[in-house]
Symmetry: D2
C-alpha cells in the first residue's frame, strides 16, 4: 500500500526525535518556561527577522486557530475567512464554540481577493444597521491554502493594506507554512509573512514534528495574560518541553525549511508524472498537495493500492482527490505511485 493520504502519516523527523531523546532526562520547568522553549522562540524570531515578535508554542492547528482568534477578537467581533478556509469548514465549529462567527468572502482557488475583502468591509461599515450585525474583527488566510495554492508577496501586501485601512489584524494559518515558503517561484519567505501579518503560525505537526505549532505575534501584540487564557481553553501543556525541544531542533541549521523542500521536490516529481500520463488537475498547486479529477471507477480501482484523500464530488461520474507529499515522502514512493496510475 502506498500512502499519499496526508502529510502527517509518520512521526517526527529524525533530528527532532533525536533531540527529544537527547534531552529526555533533563529536569526542566513546566508550562513552556524551560530553556528549550526560550531557545526555540529566539531562533524563530531570527528566522522571521522579527525582533519585536512574541512567540508562543501550542499543540495543534485547530487549537491554535481557536485560541488565537478567540483571544484576539473582541466579544462582538467575528473573523473573516474565505468560504474554503479551514476554520469555515473543517474544524467542527471550533470558532463558533468560542462565541464568534466566521464571516465569509468568496474564494479563488482557495484564496481571498483583497478587493473583494475591501468591498466586504466597506459594505459592512456603510450599512446603517451594522450595530445589529457581527463586526469583522480579524482577517484569516491560510498559506498554503486548503487547495495548496499560495499568495504572492503582492497579494499579501494588498490584503495587509486593506486590514490596516480598517484597523483589523491579519492572521495567517501556516499549518503547512514550510511547504509554502519552499515552493518554487514563490516570493514569500518567513520574513515576508512576518512583515505583512499581525499574527501567524508555523506549523510543526505537518512539517516534521510529532505535534506543535509556533504562533508568532509580530509586533509585541500577544494578548495580555495569554498563558492564563491558553489554560482556560484547555490548551496548556504541562511538559512544554515537548514543544520547545522540537521547535528548537526544527529551527537549528534551517532544518524546518530543508525538510519542507523534500515535500516540494516530491510533489514536483509527482506533478510531472501525472501530467505525462495525461491526468487532469483540478487546479495548479505549487505545494505538497496535488488535486486531480478522476473518473469514479478508476478512483475505486487505485484505492486498493494507494491511500489518498477524497476531496469533493466533481460531477456525477468524477471525483476530486488529493495526493499529499511530505518531509518523509521518498522518491521510490512517488515513482511507485506514478507507475501505478
Amino acid at each position: 500500500m502506498l500512502y499519499f493520504e496526508n502529510d502527517y502519516s509518520e512521526g517526527a523527523h529524525g533530528k527532532v526525535l533525536e533531540a527529544l531523546v537527547k534531552t529526555n532526562y533533563e529536569k526542566l520547568s513546566g508550562y513552556g518556561s524551560d530553556e528549550y522553549c526560550e531557545r526555540a522562540k529566539e531562533k524563530i524570531k531570527a528566522a522571521c527577522e522579527c525582533e519585536d515578535a512574541d512567540v508562543y508554542l501550542l499543540v495543534g492547528g485547530t487549537q491554535t486557530n481557536q485560541v488565537v482568534i478567540d483571544t484576539t477578537l473582541k466579544p462582538y467581533e467575528g473573523v473573516v475567512a474565505a468560504t474554503t478556509g479551514h476554520i469555515s469548514t473543517h474544524e467542527a465549529g471550533a470558532i463558533e464554540y468560542t462565541g464568534h462567527k466566521v464571516l465569509t468572502v468568496p474564494e479563488h482557488n482557495g484564496k481571498m481577493d483583497a478587493d473583494e475583502l475591501k468591498d466586504f468591509l466597506e459594505t459592512f461599515f456603510n450599512d446603517g444597521n451594522h450595530e445589529h450585525m457581527v463586526f469583522p474583527g480579524m482577517v484569516y488566510i491560510s498559506h498554503p491554502t486548503e487547495y495548496g495554492t499560495l499568495y504572492t508577496k503582492n497579494e499579501l501586501a494588498n490584503i495587509s493594506q486593506v486590514c490596516k485601512q480598517f484597523e483589523i489584524p491579519l492572521f495567517l494559518d501556516g499549518a503547512r507554512l514550510g511547504y509554502g515558503v519552499m515552493a518554487k517561484d514563490t516570493d514569500v519567505d518567513l520574513p515576508t509573512v512576518a512583515k505583512y501579518c499581525d499574527i501567524f503560525y508555523i506549523g510543526g505537526t505537518k512539517v516534521g514534528a510529532l505535534c506543535g505549532e509556533a504562533v508568532v505575534f509580530t509586533n509585541n501584540n500577544m494578548p495580555k495574560h495569554f498563558t492564563t487564557m491558553v489554560k482556560q481553553h484547555g490548551s496548556l501543556l504541562a511538559k512544554g518541553r515537548l514543544l520547545g525541544v522540537q521547535f528548537d531542533a526544527l529551527f537549528t541549521d534551517n532544518l524546518y525549511c530543508e525538510i519542507a523542500k523534500n515535500a516540494i521536490d516530491m510533489a514536483e516529481l509527482l506533478k510531472k508524472g501525472l501530467a505525462n500520463k495525461g491526468y487532469r488537475f483540478y487546479l495548479d498547486s505549487p505545494t505538497n498537495q496535488q488535486f486531480i479529477i478522476l473518473e469514479n471507477s478508476q478512483m475505486e480501482k487505485i484505492s486498493k493500492d494507494v491511500r489518498f484523500s477524497f476531496w469533493e464530488k466533481y460531477d456525477d461520474s468524477h471525483t476530486v482527490i488529493r495526493f499529499a507529499t511530505s518531509w518523509a515522502t521518498t522518491k521510490e514512493d512517488v515513482e511507485a505511485l506514478i507507475n501505478l496510475l
Copy 2:
C-alpha cells in the same frame, strides 16, 4: 412626517393595553406561573389546533431564536438557514454566541428550497470527513421571510418532509406570523404551521403587543428544564404576567389575526398605489413589507417627509428601500404616502 420604517413604531393594540390596565393590581405569581399565562397557552393551542403543544412565552425575537436554537441543538450541531435568514445576518451573532454555527443554503426571494436543503444534507452525511464538520441539527425558516415572502403549504410540506427524512427538527421564526397567515391567497394558516413545524413562534412584538413571542413546541418537545435554561440565558421575566395578559388578549376573539389583517389591507392599498405610479418593486411581497427600487436622489428627497428602511444598495445609482405597514397603519397614512411619492 410619515412613518413606514417598521412595524413596531407604536405601543400595544388598544385591547391589549386595556387588558394590562384591567389586570394591573391583581396579585399574581411570578415567572410565568400565573393564570393569564395558562389561559394564553390554552388559547394558542386551540388556535393552532394542536393539543399536544407546549407553549412558552418569551420577550423578544432574537432572544427567542437564541434560546430555542441553543436549547434544542446538541453541542456539536449547527442550524441551517437561508443566507438571508435573520439569524444569519441581523442578530449580532446571537446564535454563534451560544456556540453554534449558522450553516447556510441559498435563498430565493428570502426562501429556502426543499431540494437544495436535501442536497445540502445529503452532501454533508455522505462526506467521509463529516465528523470534522458541524452537524446540521435544525432547520430554520422565517415566515413571512425577511423579504415579506411566504412559503406555500406545499413548500412547507416538502421542507418538513426533508427534515423528517434526516431526523432534524424544523423551526419557524414567526416574528411576523400574523401578517403571514392573513395574507391574501395564502394556504398556510396557524394549524398548517403547527402541523409541519416541530417548533415555531407567534410574534407579538410586531403584531400588537408591547413585547412578547409565544413559542409553540408542537409535539410535547419542549426541552426538559426549559425554565432553568431560559433563566440561564438571562431571559426569564419575573413578571411573566406582562406576557400572559397580552397573549391572552391577543388570542381572545381572534384579535391577533384581525389586527394583522389591517396591515395586509394597508399593504395592498400601498402596492396598488405604487404600481399605479410606476414604481419598480424589488420583488413581489404578499405581506406587510414592501420593497421598491428607488433612484438615489429621489430616495434622498422623500426621506424628508417619510421614514422608511434602507434595505440594500441595488446599483451605483439605485437603492432598495422598505415600507412596512402594521396593525396600526391607517388609510390616511397610506394615502398620504402615495400622494407624496
Copy 3:
C-alpha cells in the same frame, strides 16, 4: 389569601401605567433610541448627580447582571461576590453560562466585608500560581442584599477603596435599590451609590415597573458597542419605549423614591407587629424583606392564609421564611397579616 411572597406580585404603579397608556400611539423609533429613553436617562443622571454617566435600560435583573458582567470582564477574569450573592446562587448559572467564574468571599448578613475582600485579592495576586487561576476582575455587591440588609456609606467607601487599589470595577446590583435608599437611618442615597460604584443599576421590576432595570455606568465607562453586545445576548428590546416611558415616569417628581417609601413604611409596621407578638427575626433587616424563624407546624398552618417565601431550613423543626412588602402593599394587608400570626 394574603400575599407577602415577593415584591413583584402586581403590575406597574398607576402613574407608570398611565404614562404607557398616554404615549401608546406615539410613533417612536426602536431599540431604545426614542425620546423617552433619552429623557429617562437624563433624569436618572440628575437623580444620581452624576453627569458623566452612561445610562442603559435593560429588561430584567438576571439579564442585567449577565450582560454587564460579561461585557465588562476580560475573558480570563471572574467576578467576586458574597457566597449569598444573587449571581452566586439563584441565577441558574447565568454568569458561568457566559464563561466567567463567580469567585466567592464570606457573607455577613448578606454583606461582603472590605477587609476580607482585600485579603482575598492580596492572596490571589501574591500566589505564585495565579496565572493558573481565574483573575478577579470585578466586585459584585447587592444593595439591599438578598437578606434585606444595607451597606453603610462608610462600608461602601471601604469596598470602593479596595477596588480602586486593585483597579477592579465595583458593580452594585440594585434590583431593590429604591427600598435601600428609602430605608430609615441609611446614609446611602443615589448620589452616594453613584459616587462609590463604577457600575450599578436601579431596579424597576421590583419597584413599580412592569419590567426594566436602568444600568448606570458612572464614569463614561459603558463598554464600546454595548448595544451590539446587548443584542448578541438576546437582550435588546425592539420597543425600547416600553423601558423609556416607564423610567421617565419613575424619575419624574421623585416617584421612584416615593413609592419605595411605602414598602419601607409597611415593613416597619410589620416588624413592629411581629416583634410585639414575640416572633424571632433571623436578622435585622431595615428594608422591605423581613426574615423570621418559624416552627414548622406553625409555618404549615399560616400557609393556608398567606403566601410567603420559604427561605432556608433553620434546624430540623424550624424554617426561615420571608415576608416582602412592596410599593403596592397596603396597611390593611399588613394589619391582616399581623392579626393572622
Copy 4:
C-alpha cells in the same frame, strides 16, 4: 540543584520513548484511528477489567477535565467538586469557560465526604426554588487528591452509591492515578476505580509519558459524536499515534504501575527521613506528594539548593510547601534532599 518541584520535570520513561522511536516511520492513519491507539485501548480495558469500557486518549489534564465535563453535563447542569478540587481552583476557569458552574462541597484533606455530598444533593432537590439554580449533574473527585490523599474502597463505594441514588455520574480525575493505585495499604486498584466510577482517566503526563491522559467511560457511556466534540474543543490531535504508542507501551507488561511504584518508594523514603529529622507534616499523604510546614526563613534558605512548590501560607511565619517524587526520582536525589534539610 535538587528538583522536587513536581512530577513532570523529565520527559518520558525510557520504554515509552523507545516505543516512539521504534514506530516513528510507520505510516499510520490520523486522529487516533491507528492500530496503536486500538491496542492501547484494549490493554487499558484489560487492566481495568472493564470490557464494556470506551477508552479515548487526550493530551492533557485540564483539557480532559474540560472536554469530559462539558460533553457529559446537560446545559443547565454544573459539576460538584470539593473546594480544593483542581477544577475548582487551578484550571483558570476552564470549566466555567464551557458554560458550567463548579459547585462545591467541603474538603477533608482534599477529599469529599459521601454524607456531605448526599446532604448537598438533598438540599438542592428539596429546595422549592431549585429551578432557578444550577443543577448538580456530575460529581468530580480526584484520586490521589490535590493533597496526595486517597479514598478507600469503602469511601468510593459510598460516594458512588450517593451518585447512583441521584442518577448523577461519578467522574474521577486520575492525573496521578498510578501513584494512587501503587500506594502502600490502599485497597483501590484500577478495577475498583472502574467499578465505582462512570468515567475516570489514567494520567500519563505525570506518570511516564510526554503527554496524554486515557479517559475510560466504564459502561459504553462515551457521548455520541465524541470525536467531533473533541475537535470542536480544539483538542483533537492529528497524530493520535503520539498518544497511542505511549499508552500502548505504558500498558505493556504492567509498566504503568511498576514505574509508579518508584515514586511511592521514594516518597516513603523521604517521609521517613523528614520524620526522623522532626519535620512537621501538613497532613499524612500516602502518595508521591508530601506537604510540610516550614518556618519562612528556613524555606528561603533551602530554596537555594532545592526546587519545591509553594503551596499555601500557613501563618505569618510559616508556609506549607510540597515535595513531589515521580517515576524518575532516584534514591540519590532523596538522600541528598534529606541531607540538605
